[in-house]
């Protein structure tokens, strides 16, 4: 499964990539913000894992842009973030986020959430 990891923190990208590899996902591409993620996300990408707080284009804007594009409108998006206030969650749901994981997370939580959203997709 081709997976795009979007996070402005290089260390956080590395952690997500390591977690994905540890659960068997090896076809991975990375982007440092929402804008770069949008450029790299085409129909071949099967899952987007994105942070929320990023410069240039944040994760929420990325999701909205993906949903507005016919090629990526149904691409599952997993938000991995520290944001947990109710208003943020509702915004994420409204924007079309498929799943939501709070940092810090474990590879097990990542595996479960990916299974859930890929099953629903």
């Amino acid at each position: 499964m081709k997976c795009l990891v979007v996070d402005d923190s290089a260390t956080m990208r590395r952690i997500v990539v390591n977690a994905l590899k540890s659960i068997g996902h090896t076809d991975l591409i990375e982007a440092a913000d929402g804008s770069e993620g949008l450029q790299k996300c085409d129909a071949s990408v099967e899952l987007v894992i994105t942070d929320w707080n990023m410069p240039i284009m944040g994760g929420l804007e990325l999701v909205k842009a993906l949903r507005a594009n016919a090629a990526t409108t149904k691409t599952p998006v997993l938000m991995v973030t520290t944001r947990s206030v109710q208003e943020d969650i509702l915004q994420a749901i409204e924007a079309g986020v498929s799943g939501y994981i709070l940092k810090p997370f474990t590879p097990q939580v990542l595996r479960e959430k990916i299974s859930q959203i890929m099953a629903a997709a």
């Binding site: 956080m12 590395r14 707080n53 944001r83 498929s98 709070l102 590879p107």
Partner: protein, 239 residues
């Protein structure tokens, strides 16, 4: 803002003192002339009303005392402004830099640890291949457990991302305090350059000031419940 010097105030007080002495002398002359029947009319009444007022000769001294009090107060404000400026220029700026250093140091340490973990995982891959080739399933199993442990350690390094966001929140708060302190100092003395120190560049929106390690499972459960209540795909389908 003080526009009159202490010397000017004293000169003015001296002139006022001399003027008031002349006025008092004039009043006495008018009253003496009125008593002798030499003058009558409104000027006598005016002189009489002037004598009923507090001693006008005391006015210059009162003015000087008031001026001294005002100068003392302004001096206190000036010292307070200097204290605020020192606080703004030194402590806040130093604290900002310290926060930045903490973030940089932890990032560097995190990357070093990640490199070490990557090397360790590569060694486990190598050892596991050898164990498999030798048919040692026990060793291969142990190495798999070790790999899982290292992967868990990798995950724990998320502390860096969270603390960086928390430090970003603290830094932004310090930026606000610095701006408020600068504005307050300008109220006391607009002539002084109170530009903010070398502040740390902080692009908007790149951190969550409420980032926390606390109650992750409880908060995750609440999020899962919200997603279960309103399936995102239904929202997308409506759109």
């Amino acid at each position: 803002m003080i526009t009159m010097s202490s010397h000017n105030i004293r000169s003015l007080a001296t002139e006022l003192d001399q003027t008031m002495s002349l006025v008092n002398e004039l009043v006495r002359e008018i009253q003496a002339a009125a008593a002798a029947g030499q003058i009558t009319g409104p000027v006598v009444a005016l002189a009489s009303s002037l004598t009923k007022r507090p001693d006008l000769a005391q006015l210059p001294a009162m003015m000087l005392r008031a001026y001294g009090g005002i100068m003392d107060a302004l001096g206190g404000i000036q010292r307070r402004r200097e204290t605020i400026q020192a606080f703004e220029a030194e402590r806040l700026t130093v604290t900002q830099k310290q926060l930045s250093e903490v973030s940089t140091a932890t990032e560097s340490a995190t990357i070093d640890i990640m490199d070490g973990l990557d090397r360790s995982l590569a060694l486990i891959d190598q050892a596991q291949s050898q164990a498999n080739a030798a048919g040692s399933s026990d060793l291969a199993g142990s190495l798999e457990l070790l790999r899982a442990e290292l992967n868990q350690l990798f995950g724990h390094l998320q502390f860096h991302d969270i603390t960086t966001q928390q430090l970003g929140g603290v830094g932004a708060l310090l930026d606000e305090i610095e701006a408020l302190v600068t504005d307050a100092a300008r109220l006391f003395d607009q002539s002084t350059d109170l530009s903010a120190g070398d502040s740390v560049e902080r692009p908007a929106g790149v951190f969550n000031p409420t980032a926390t390690f606390a109650d992750v499972k409880v908060r995750q459960a609440a999020i899962d419940a919200a997603f279960a209540k309103t399936p995102p795909l239904a929202v997308v389908a409506r759109a």
